[in-house]
Every structure is written in C-alpha cells, then in structure tokens.
C-alpha cells in the first residue's frame, strides 16, 4: 500500500518536532525554535497545496488563503480570543476557496491556475484599499492567549502541521486517493468510472484552503504584525508549491522532507541576501521539473528498489 512504508519516518520527524523545545541547545535554542516554527508552518502550507495538486490543479492562490486566514484571525482575535479567531480565519479562507473553485473548477485546468493567481493579486489590492485592514500601514495582531505562554505559537504551528499531516495521510489511505488520482490522470475517464470530478476537486481545494488559512492565522500571531505585501505575498504561494515538488509530489513524506530542507535554507538565505531570495526557489522549481520530477522521495524510492 502506497505511503505505508514511510509511516515510521513521518512519525519520527513529528516526535522530533514535538520535543524540539526541550532539547538542550543552549544559546541556539531561541534561534532554532524560530526556524522550527517556520519549518512547521510552511510545511503545513506545502502539504495543503499538495492536497490540491493531487487532483491535477495548480493552485497559485495559497498565498491568498494564507493572507485571508491571517487577516481574519488578526482582526477577530482581540474580540473573540485566540482559538475561535483562528477557526474563523480558516473558514474565511475556505469561503474564498469555494467562490474561486465553484467558478473555475468546472473548466479546463489552466483556467483555475490563472484565476487563482489573479485572485491572490486582487486580494492584496483589497487589503491595501479596504478601510478596516490598516491599508499599507499594516495591522497589529495580539500574541496568542494574551502572551501567557511563550511556546504557544510554536505548538499552534505544530498543531497545524499535525492537522495537515493527518489530512494528507487520510487522503492517501482512503478511497479518496483513488478519486483524486483518477481526476488528475484523466478527467474524462474518471467521469466514466463514476467519480464526481468537480466535487472531488472542490473538496480538495476546500480542505487545502482551510489548512492554509489556519497557517496564516498562526503566522500573524507569531509576527504580531501583518502587512498586505507580507501576508498576501506571491512568495508564499511559491514556497507552498516548491516544497512538495522538491520533496516529492503526491506524498506526505515529500513535503515534510522538502519543508525541513528548504525552509531552513531560506532562513539562512534571508540573512545573506535580503530581497530576491526567491531566485533560488525559481531555479529549484525549473531544475526539479526537468530532471527530478518525482522529487527527493523519488530518489529514496529508487535506491530501495
């Protein structure tokens, strides 16, 4: 059964992440926890992107779902408290996904890719222009649980990753995987076999956007400040898709491995070159598509025979 052989590895990496705050790293502790936070969050985002990609759809709107979740949670957190705000943030992102998906998912795949890209650009414009978002100045966000617990953001981020991993594993094991794969490989054949193609695509997008929105909400509570250029950045969508492609598409282990490698690399690169670190992501994307279409996990599988 597919994905079963990877299960111990997945479990091991999750346990490592759960224990990270308690490992003795001395002066490096704070820095490593920061990097770990972003690794967890962006890996979750990457898994949520992969969930959509399994139906053959290229979502360039994950930056927008992330931003929608971040802004909704940030605006609601002072009134409602941390967890309800995060939940509503995820639901807002899901609502956006339903609007986008219901129009475009009936059409040929490229329309969805284009519309999703346009969707994220327009949401950024709206975040800049609408009266209640703070516009270009930005939006301050309170820390989770009024800052009572310093490790809260780390474990919230870990929670998002757990949810994303669980969803991904579920989609890999259940008959849903077959429906997704059939939709990806040939919509016409899938239809004939009785797969409700549009529904499968819409559900995948909805689940993906919920996780992305949740990740966005947690992100805002970590940075304590949101600006349209940061929250709705196209770079977020790029990260969300390069990580699974680098690690290995349509798997759960792939995004996990890709996330650990790439997000750590990115944190290092940001110290070195401030702007334009996305050059590396663009180059990786091209090289992997041309020479390594099955990603790192693909190499692993080949060695094992």
């Amino acid at each position: 059964m597919k994905g079963f052989g990877h299960f111990p590895l997945i479990l091991l990496s999750l346990v490592l992440f759960a224990l990270l705050p308690f490992l003795p790293f001395g002066v490096w502790q704070a820095f490593l926890l920061d990097v770990g936070f972003f690794v967890l969050l962006f890996t979750a985002l990457a898994l949520s992107w992969d969930l959509v990609a399994r139906t053959g759809q290229l979502s360039l709107a994950h930056g927008a779902f992330f931003g929608l979740g971040a802004y909704s949670a940030g605006l609601l957190a002072p009134q409602l408290g941390t967890l309800p705000a995060l939940l509503l943030g995820a639901l807002t992102a899901g609502a956006g996904a339903l609007v986008l998906g219901s129009v475009t998912l009936r059409l040929h795949g490229l329309y969805f890719a284009i519309a999703s890209l346009a969707f994220s650009e327009v949401l950024r414009t709206l975040a800049l222009k609408l009266p209640f978002t703070g516009g270009p100045i930005g939006l301050p966000v309170p820390p989770p649980f009024a800052g009572a617990w310093p490790l809260a953001t780390y474990y919230l981020s870990f929670g998002v990753l757990l949810l994303a991993t669980a969803l991904s594993l579920w989609a890999e094991r259940s008959p849903f995987r077959l429906a997704q794969a059939a939709t990806r490989q040939s919509e016409a054949v899938a239809r004939v076999l009785g797969v409700r193609v549009v529904q499968v695509k819409l559900w995948s997008l909805l689940l993906g956007s919920l996780v992305a929105g949740l990740a966005g909400g947690v992100y805002g509570m970590k940075t304590l400040f949101l600006s349209p250029y940061d929250a709705f950045s196209l770079g977020r969508a790029v990260e969300a898709l390069v990580i699974p492609i680098f690690g290995g598409l349509y798997t759960t282990l792939g995004p996990l491995v890709g996330g650990v490698v790439l997000v750590s690399l990115e944190q290092a690169l940001r110290l070195w070159i401030k702007e334009g670190y996305l050059v590396v992501y663009g180059a990786i994307l091209i090289l992997v598509i041309l020479f390594l279409p099955r990603g790192l996990v693909g190499i692993l599988g080949r060695r094992r025979g």
Partner: protein, 285 residues
C-alpha cells in the same frame, strides 16, 4: 461628455499594447499549447534593454524596438529549446509549474540586478502632447498605439500569406495531420514561441517610455493578457483585439469615474477574467 470621450480615448490608446502582449500569449497557447506564465518577463526584459541602451548609449527607444524584437526572439527560441521542448509531452501541471518557475526566477534575478526601483526612459519627446480640439493625445501613447496596430497587421499578413504562417495555423488546428503533410511541428513551435516573446519584447520597449521598467512590470501584463485571452477564447487570435479594447476601456472608466479608483484599476482585470470564466462555465454547464 468631454471627460467621457477623453476617457474612452485613453482607453483606446492603451488597448494597442494590451493587444500586442496578449497576442503573443495567445500564440504560445494556441500554437505550442503551453501556458506561459513567464510571458510578461519577456516584456520586462525588453523594457530593461530599452532602459540600458538609453542610459548607457543614449539610444532612442525607437531604435531599440528592432533590437528588442530580435533579442526577445532569440531569448524566446532558446527558452523553447532548453525548457519548453523537454516538457511538451509532460502533464499540464508540470508545464505550468515550469513556466511559473521561470517567471519567478527572472523576476527575482532582475530584482537582484537592478533593485526594485522603477526606471523611466525619457527621450525629448516623452511629454509632448497633441491637442485635437478639446482633447489631448500624448505623442508617446499615440505612437505606441499606431505601432502596435502596424505590428498586429503585419502579423496578420504573415499568418495568412506566408508558408510559415500557414504552417503555424495548421499546427494550431491539428497536431497530427500537418506532420503527414511534411510540416515539422518542432520548427513551427520554435518560431511561434520566439515570435510570441518578440511581440512582448517590443511592447516592453514601448512601456519603458509610457510607464517604466521594473522587475515586476511584466507580471501584471501576464495577468492582464490572460484575462484578455480568456475573454477572447483560448487560442482565438482574432478575438484578442476586441477583448483588449474591452479591458483597456473598463480600466480607463474605473480610473476616471470611481472615487479613489487609482488603486482599484489593478483589480479590473480580475473582474473581466471572472466574468469571462463565469460566462464560459455557464455556457458549458
């Protein structure tokens, strides 16, 4: 009334460049069958080429036009040979990811090389205006409009009269039959992709004078061109010009009549795209 007419006039002038860029995109989509997210980056390169030639050689952008056409054609052809050809038979998702990666790579490379500043090419005639009764025509937008129309007409002649043009249309209609008639699809793809890039490159030179050159200038045009192509129907070259006119007019009207419309102009293309897609989904269902 005069304001309305002036607004519509501005819209018409802008539609020329839109049509030029979108025609290139429609060519790569219709003939090669590739969704090229990096199309706007060819435009960005044309704009920077024009800026560099102007800043360091003092070259008039009118002269840069020909150079940009050739340079963009070569870049487009090389892109086809090196990157597009290997994935022609791959899944559509992989093709789109590849061109998207190219777009990200080129944009951020430009960001590293030139910084995020906008750079304007300012030849002596840049701010000259003609007055036509109560209306004003900028010389540069007017010239760019005429030039775009001329190029589109030449393209039309090329596609309907020349052997290569006919081969291109044949390949866009059927992938298999032209091969049986002795048309080498690979050469046609190369030419079409190069031509698509060249059209964007020329438009980039015009934009470096009308607007500016910056790392992200091309990306907006990729999106707008997709909106135009979606409105025209995939691979429908004839529909591109009226669709470009619709988008340019809508943008001009929003920027004049909507309070605070200046920033919202950038959202108009989405409305056009959205309505085009809703119409298409509704017709299909």
């Amino acid at each position: 009334m005069e304001l309305l007419l002036q607004t519509l006039l501005n819209g018409i002038l802008m539609s020329g460049i839109y049509a030029l860029v979108a025609t290139g995109l429609a060519l790569s989509l219709g003939v090669v069958g590739i969704v090229n997210f990096a199309h706007g980056e060819f435009l960005m390169m044309g704009a920077f080429l024009s800026y560099l030639l102007f800043a360091f050689r003092g070259m008039d952008p009118l002269l840069s036009l020909g150079l940009a056409f050739l340079a963009a054609f070569v870049v487009g052809a090389l892109t086809y040979q090196g990157l597009i050809r290997p994935v022609l038979r791959a899944a559509e998702l992989n093709q789109m990811l590849l061109t998207f990666g190219l777009s990200i790579l080129l944009q951020n490379l430009a960001l590293l090389l030139f910084g995020a500043d906008t750079r304007v090419v300012a030849p002596p005639y840049q701010a000259t205006t003609l007055s036509l009764g109560p209306f004003f025509l900028g010389v540069v937008p007017f010239g760019a409009f005429l030039l775009s129309l001329a190029i589109l007409l030449m393209l039309q002649v090329f596609l309907t009269r020349s052997r290569f043009g006919l081969a291109m249309r044949a390949v866009s209609q059927n992938r298999l039959a032209p091969g049986l008639l002795g048309i080498e699809a690979d050469k046609v793809y190369l030419l079409a992709f190069g031509l698509a890039a060249a059209l964007a490159g020329v438009a980039g030179v015009m934009l470096s004078v009308m607007l500016y050159a910056s790392p992200t200038v091309g990306f907006v045009f990729t999106l707008k061109s997709f909106a135009i192509v979606a409105l025209a129907g995939l691979g429908n070259l004839k529909g591109v010009v009226p669709a470009a006119l619709v988008l340019a007019m809508a943008e001009a009207l929003v920027s004049t009549y909507l309070p605070g419309g200046g920033g919202l102009v950038e959202a108009v293309f989405f409305l056009v795209l959205f309505l085009a897609l809703v119409g298409r989904a509704w017709r299909k269902a």
